[in-house]
């Protein structure tokens, strides 16, 4: 309980620091050449910009961003520019941005966007072998551009601390080795696509790298992710299953009725945990959230197994 409280406190402090710093930044104490009116067209990069205390003037598809990137707080002042790959140009023009942050997938738009404001292409961290480390490097790169290196350094230090604490917390859990942990069982990290398909995340994914950092063992040994039928989850018999919530009704139904699901080793031994949604292509804020939801899930499970043992 203590550890969880401490993690939450750390995260809260970080958020406060972010707000305070963004106020300073808005007050205009940075040099004039630093971009102040930033537009971000990519969700992961929107998180990156927000994480270093800069509030963008416009982002793509605000509604769906809020739903998917739960670690970020999007102020109401941020303008919705419409679709990610076809932002409304006139609205963009009217916002008079002085920097547009895009991902490599926006290459097709770059020439048109350059006419409105200088663009910078980031977001290659996604296709990196170590997405989280790459996202950290890109965060620093972005911070240099926006003149808030100090904030970024603080953010990364905070993230290190959060991940460190989470790692210690996970290693110290009494039931850790029973459900998966530092020296415990391997873990499958999956997203249910529908009742038959799962996206399984390997060590080169954002989740995968974080799991490794947290001292957890991935049941998959290579790659970023693959989309397969859920029957492959039986390949590692002693694995624990972690999945992202919420589940579609058809998946919930399948879990209730399918004999195959009930025969899955993790299901039999109750080694499965649902985690609150963390985007699979997030940045540092999402990484901290991921660490917290993992610790929460493991602590709850070990409390449950602990109390079950007492009852027995």
């Amino acid at each position: 309980m203590n550890r969880r409280a401490m993690l939450s406190a750390l995260l809260g402090a970080g958020a406060l620091a972010a707000t305070a710093l963004s106020d300073v930044a808005l007050a205009g104490d940075a040099p004039a050449a630093t971009p102040r009116r930033v537009v971000v067209l990519d969700w992961g990069l929107t998180e990156m910009v927000l994480s270093i205390g800069v509030v963008p003037v416009g982002i793509a598809n605000t509604r769906d961003f809020r739903r998917n990137f739960t670690a970020c707080d999007v102020p109401a002042s941020v303008v919705d520019l419409g679709l990610m790959f076809q932002p409304n140009m006139e609205l963009l023009f009217a916002l008079k941005p002085d920097l547009i942050v895009i991902s490599p997938a926006h290459a097709r738009l770059q020439a048109a966007l350059e006419r409105v404001a200088p663009t910078v292409t980031l977001g290659r961290y996604r296709s990196s072998e170590a997405p989280y480390s790459a996202a950290r490097a890109e965060t620093l790169q972005l911070a240099r551009l926006l003149g808030c290196e100090a904030r970024a350094e603080a953010l990364l230090a905070q993230a290190d601390m959060v991940l460190d604490h989470a790692r210690t917390a996970l290693a110290a859990l009494p039931g850790a080795s029973a459900v998966g942990g530092a020296k415990g069982r391997p873990l499958y990290m999956v997203n249910f696509i529908d009742e038959a398909h799962v996206r399984v995340f390997g060590p080169n994914s954002f989740y995968g790298e974080l799991m490794m950092t947290l001292g957890l063992q991935n049941a998959v040994h290579s790659g970023a992710f693959s989309t397969t039928g859920f029957d492959v989850l039986g390949n590692v018999p002693d694995a624990t299953l972690l999945y992202m919530k919420p589940l579609a009704p058809s998946v919930v139904n399948m879990m209730k009725t399918s004999p195959l699901w009930h025969a899955m080793p993790f299901k039999n031994d109750g080694r499965m945990m649902g985690l609150p949604r963390v985007p699979p292509d997030g940045c540092v804020l999402s990484a901290m959230l991921f660490a917290r939801v993992l610790v929460d899930a493991f602590e709850q499970t070990s409390e449950r197994t602990g109390s079950a043992k007492e009852h027995a």
């Binding site: 679709l83 790959f85 140009m89 490599p104 399918s258 004999p259 195959l260 699901w261 080793p265």
Partner: protein, 676 residues
């Protein structure tokens, strides 16, 4: 495919079912190979009858592999039977759930439900899939009814509905990508099972439908005799046709809601049955389901084998489409009693006097000017709709002008291409999309996106141009034998479109993050048009307008039929080749700028004909003006209707076109009914 064709040439009475056996043996071998990987042979029997609850391998076989095979059999057989039934009652060898639009209607229905009414899907997909398929089928029939439900009219109607449903699905996928990605993967046809419930549910639903269809067999056999004889025998053709189609619709909806879109089994199975020697309806109704089951089983085993070997999932539906598309080409050479496309359609309105013609043309040009004015001067911002002041227009001109110029240019190009194709083929429902050029361009775009690293605009242009040119080359090569006969061209176009569909299904089901970019590319958008590109399009459009007078004579004479044309001294092959090349180039230019998917080529000439303009030159010029106006309007609406989301102009144009067709259909049906 080749071996099957030989069987037809030398019909072997002793081994009529040899091809089925071959497919079954192949599928069975692949299945056994898969089973062997899973489980030692000594445990197979146990896994089949009473799997040990502690042995996951046995459970996987019992609840995964076996029901998957059962579902493949059931769906394949059901689609095979559905194919025979529709082909019989419509006397159309190309009719099947895919070509009739049922699949895309069901898929669109499911997309809409997923986004706006997920509650409808909790109890299952059946109802939604059925409703979507029924609406699509009804529209296809209403469209085809205008041409007396002729075989090709149905296929074209189906294609129009497929395009429309596709555009709507695109719009939904672009704006609600995160909700629909699951549907995209499933929609490619996924047969994966995790218990016997789907197989049992399918069995329970399909058996009554099949029984009823078999009951209809006797009245259905009468369709072999032709309408007149059949009616004189006292069989209600309409009743039988309606009942058979309704049952087909039910069967298809059940299959879609169980396993997603499985294309071309309904086409391939009856064709193979016929080629293998099944002549009588009774034989075909037994053999096609067998062929269907065997084919889908094989396709699914290939899909699994591929997934196991390369680690990437390939949807079973894409494999069936890839197998089925070449079959369409084989079919087309064997199609007996090809529909007569040169038959001039009944004209609904009287020709215009020259004064009325001038007036109509003037109104069209005025319309174009009004739309241009709207597009340049009216927009939406954070404060709502507003009319821009002159200095604002000046400031925004660099954004708005390329859109308007490109939209106009593309409108003109597609309208001219459409007008030429419709004149040349004598088919008022033909459009440049149907030549497959746009599909070729789209394949190029897909290739650029997935095969090159972060492609920019020039890369896309080059790939798209290559795709279009290769397609055009293939089309020319293929159609040369038949002196570029219209029906050959269109069926080849349908085939190319089908192949593209399979490719895009594979791409979409790959679960790659780039899929959303693909959707944006394929929707036909003026979004990325640079000032330079807009200028080039404008120049090409002007050149095309200048070329119209030179092909006037051909366009006047060709619709009169081959014999008349030859009598008047026209070299048909040369004329068709030149016109095909011209329209293909115009289409390719348009595709390069805004991407595939545009209805303008179909709609603009059609509307012009409805205005009463007959002669080739005025028809082309007026439809160019209308096409430009429609395209500019679509572009403008697309930018502002769902503000701040910009809908691609291609999607808007397709929706406008679809609405227009449906409206005219309801307006004109009574007259058609009384005329026939």
């Amino acid at each position: 495919m080749k071996s099957v064709a030989t069987v037809h040439v030398v019909p072997s009475r002793r081994w009529p079912l040899l091809p089925v056996y071959l497919v079954i043996v192949l599928a069975a071998l692949l299945s056994l190979h898969r089973l062997e990987d899973r489980l030692p042979a000594s445990l197979w029997w146990q896994a089949l009858v009473a799997p040990s609850p502690t042995d996951l391998r046995q459970l996987l076989v019992h609840y995964g592999d076996l029901p998957r095979i059962a579902v493949a059999w059931l769906c394949g057989a059901a689609l095979g039977l559905a194919g025979v039934a529709t082909q019989q009652v419509l006397r159309n060898p190309l009719a099947e759930p895919m070509t009739l639009g049922i699949f895309s209607g069901s898929y669109l229905g499911l997309s809409i439900a997923t986004v706006y009414a997920p509650g409808l899907l909790i109890s299952g997909r059946d109802g939604v899939a059925l409703a979507g398929g029924a609406v699509a089928l009804a529209i296809v029939f209403a469209l085809a009814a205008r041409r007396g439900i002729s075989p090709l009219a149905l296929i074209l109607g189906g294609m129009i509905v497929n395009l429309c449903c596709g555009a709507l699905s695109f719009a939904l996928a672009i704006s609600h990508y995160d909700l629909l990605s699951a549907l995209m993967i499933w929609g490619g046809g996924s047969l994966g099972q995790h218990d016997w419930s789907v197989a049992l549910a399918l069995l329970v639903r399909l058996v009554p439908c099949v029984a009823l269809l078999l009951l209809c067999m006797r009245p259905m056999a009468v369709f072999d005799l032709g309408d007149t004889v059949a009616s004189s025998l006292g069989v209600s053709l309409r009743m039988t046709r309606g009942a058979a189609l309704f049952l087909t619709l039910l069967v298809t909806a059940f299959v879609v809601s169980a396993v997603g879109v499985i294309g071309f089994i309904g086409l391939a199975a009856p064709t193979l049955a016929r080629l293998a020697g099944a002549r009588r309806l009774r034989d075909r109704m037994v053999w096609s389901p067998l062929f269907g089951a065997a084919l889908l089983w094989l396709a699914d085993q290939i899909a699994q084998e591929f997934a196991g070997r390369f680690g990437t999932t390939i949807p079973t539906g894409a494999i069936t489409t890839l197998l089925g598309a070449p079959l369409l080409l084989v079919m087309l050479r064997r199609l007996r009693g090809r529909p007569d496309l040169t038959h001039a359609p009944a004209m609904q309105s009287d020709p215009l006097s020259s004064r009325a013609l001038a007036l109509t043309a003037g109104v069209c040009v005025l319309l174009l000017l009004v739309v241009i004015g709207l597009s340049l001067g009216v927009g939406r911002g954070l404060a709502g709709w507003h009319v821009s002041r002159p200095e604002e227009i000046g400031a925004l001109l660099f954004l708005r002008l390329p859109h308007v110029v490109a939209a106009m240019g593309v409108g003109v190009l597609l309208a001219l291409a459409g007008g030429i194709v419709q004149r040349m083929t004598g088919n008022p429902m033909a459009s440049p999309d149907l030549l497959g050029i746009t599909a070729g361009g789209a394949m190029g775009l897909t290739g650029a996106l997935f095969l090159t690293a972060s492609p920019g605009l020039p890369t896309f242009l080059v790939w798209c141009a290559c795709g279009s040119v290769i397609t055009l080359g293939a089309l020319l090569l293929f159609a040369r034998k038949s002196s570029y006969a219209p029906d050959t061209l269109i069926l080849a176009g349908v085939t190319i479109s089908a192949v593209f569909q399979a490719v895009s299904t594979i791409a979409v089901a790959s679960d790659d993050p780039r899929v959303i970019v693909l959707y944006n590319l394929l929707a036909g958008s003026t979004y990325n048009v640079s000032a330079g590109a807009a200028g080039v399009v404008a120049v090409v459009a002007l050149a095309a307008l200048g070329a119209v007078p030179f092909c006037r004579r051909w366009l006047e004479i060709l619709p009169l039929g081959a014999a008349v044309s030859r009598g008047l001294g026209v070299n048909i092959s040369v004329a068709r080749f030149a016109l095909l090349l011209l329209s293909a180039l115009l289409t390719a230019a348009a595709t390069l700028v805004i991407g595939p998917l545009s209805f303008i080529g179909l709609m603009a000439p059609h509307m012009t004909r409805m205005l009463g303009i007959r002669r080739a030159a005025p028809l082309l010029f007026v439809s160019a003006a209308l096409g430009a106006a429609l395209m500019v309007a679509s572009d403008w609406l697309g930018r502002w209707v769902l503000f701040p989301q910009e809908m691609p102009a291609g999607v808007m144009a397709t929706l406008l076109g679809g609405l227009y067709l449906i409206v005219t259909m309801f307006k004109r049906n009574p007259r058609d009914a009384s005329g026939s």
